[in-house]
């Protein structure tokens, strides 16, 4: 399973980065979202996919899975939500103000004023 | 007792899975959006009903807990699935998605004419 998960994470990275490498703003934003999914899955995998109960002590199981990475991923998910929403708005503001839907239209800092 | 329930649960699970498959096949094979919507909502809800019921029984027997949340889930699915199906179908119709070729009549054709101007998002519909 670790192999599959690692490959999956790698695959999500591939897709995310491929999208980021395109010039289209929306695709880039979506790419960043995919990328963070990949990172989260990898973090989960790296913590070890131990068999055990979910870390709820109320279940009174013998073994539990590692709760720490879950907390970390939760933090990371929430952060990437914040970032994604910001970048989304940034993207459309950029489009509205500069008229650029592709990053190659965002070149040149000195054409202002 | 537990054994029997377990078998029932297994059976329910299989049924649910079968419904699920049916709905998926329906979704794949049926000719247009409206018929597909039918397959989706009907079959899937039934599938979910079976499986969740199974789980409900399973835990009732194994952990002696009666979890209201299973029921709540079912209620939710049953309340929302038709509304969702309705909304999409209406949206599809208003967005001008064509009916299957064999459809005999389009009951809402007049209202569709009136709604032309809402269809600016054509590009969303595949090329």
């Amino acid at each position: 399973m670790e192999i599959i998960m690692s490959i999956l994470a790698g695959f999500l990275f591939t897709v995310g980065l491929y999208l980021i490498l395109t010039k289209n703003l929306i695709r880039i934003i979506i790419g960043s979202s995919v990328l963070s999914h990949g990172a989260h899955l990898l973090l989960l995998t790296m913590a070890g996919l131990k068999t055990g109960a979910p870390p709820l002590l109320g279940l009174e199981a013998d073994t539990y899975v590692d709760p720490l990475p879950q907390a970390l991923i939760l933090t990371a998910i929430v952060i990437s939500f914040g970032v994604t929403s910001f970048i989304l708005v940034l993207g459309y503001r950029t489009y509205k103000v500069t008229g650029a839907a592709e990053t190659d239209q965002l070149r040149g800092t000195d054409t202002d004023e | 007792m537990t054994e029997i329930v377990d078998w029932i649960v297994a059976l329910l699970a299989l049924f649910g899975a079968a419904f699920s498959i049916i709905s998926a096949v329906g979704l794949l094979r049926l000719p247009d959006i409206f018929t597909r919507s039918h397959a989706a909502t009907k079959a899937a809800t039934l599938g979910v009903l079976c499986v969740v019921l199974g789980a409900f029984l399973f835990f009732m027997v194994h952990t002696q807990t009666f979890s209201l949340r299973f029921v709540l889930t079912l209620v939710f699915v049953f309340v929302t699935a038709p509304v969702g199906g309705h909304l999409i179908a209406r949206a599809a119709y208003n967005a001008g998605v064509p009916l299957a070729e064999g459809s005999s009549q389009d009951a809402l054709s007049r209202s569709r004419e009136e709604n032309r101007h809402y269809n600016e998002e054509k590009n969303d519909n595949d090329q």
């Binding site: 709820l56 109320g58 929430v78 914040g82 708005v89 | 709540l72 309340v79 929302t80 509304v83």
Partner: protein, 140 residues
């Protein structure tokens, strides 16, 4: 022509109340079962989003006149406040404590300072999600 979303709106009225209760439940139960401030907050925002979807910005605003930016700030105050308290008790920053109290009607209940912290999280999450959605929605 206008669409009437009677079906949607009726269902929403019913459902959103249920979800909200569920969200509050999940929030309070977060220390023992899956849930907590984040999920509770997000679910509450989901309710609000549903309301916005079914009705419209103005209607919802009239029904719930909340400044979500302020809500975010208040949430932060809650979260930071539990930490600042530690200065007065000379325990490390953000130390949380809990105890079991007996209440007349409810019986034995656990009360923790983390609840205040989590409430902060809850408020911030709602505030954030709704500020974002509202500002985008309002943008012409």
């Amino acid at each position: 022509m206008k669409y009437n979303d009677i079906i949607l709106q009726t269902v929403t009225k019913f459902i959103s109340f249920l979800i909200f209760l569920f969200a509050v439940y999940i929030f309070f139960n977060g220390h023992q079962e899956p849930g907590g401030g984040f999920i509770g907050g997000l679910m509450t925002s989901a309710v609000l989003v549903l309301l916005l979807l079914a009705f419209d910005m103005e209607t919802v605003r009239r029904a719930l006149p909340i400044d979500y930016k302020l809500m975010t700030a208040i949430g932060l105050v809650f979260a930071v406040g539990t930490g600042v308290g530690s200065f007065f008790f000379s325990v490390p920053f953000l130390s949380q404590t809990f105890g079991y109290f007996h209440f007349p009607v409810l019986g034995e209940l656990e009360l923790t300072t983390t609840l205040a912290f989590d409430l902060g999280v809850y408020l911030v999450v709602i505030g954030t999600a709704m500020t974002i959605i509202q500002t985008i929605g309002e943008d012409k």
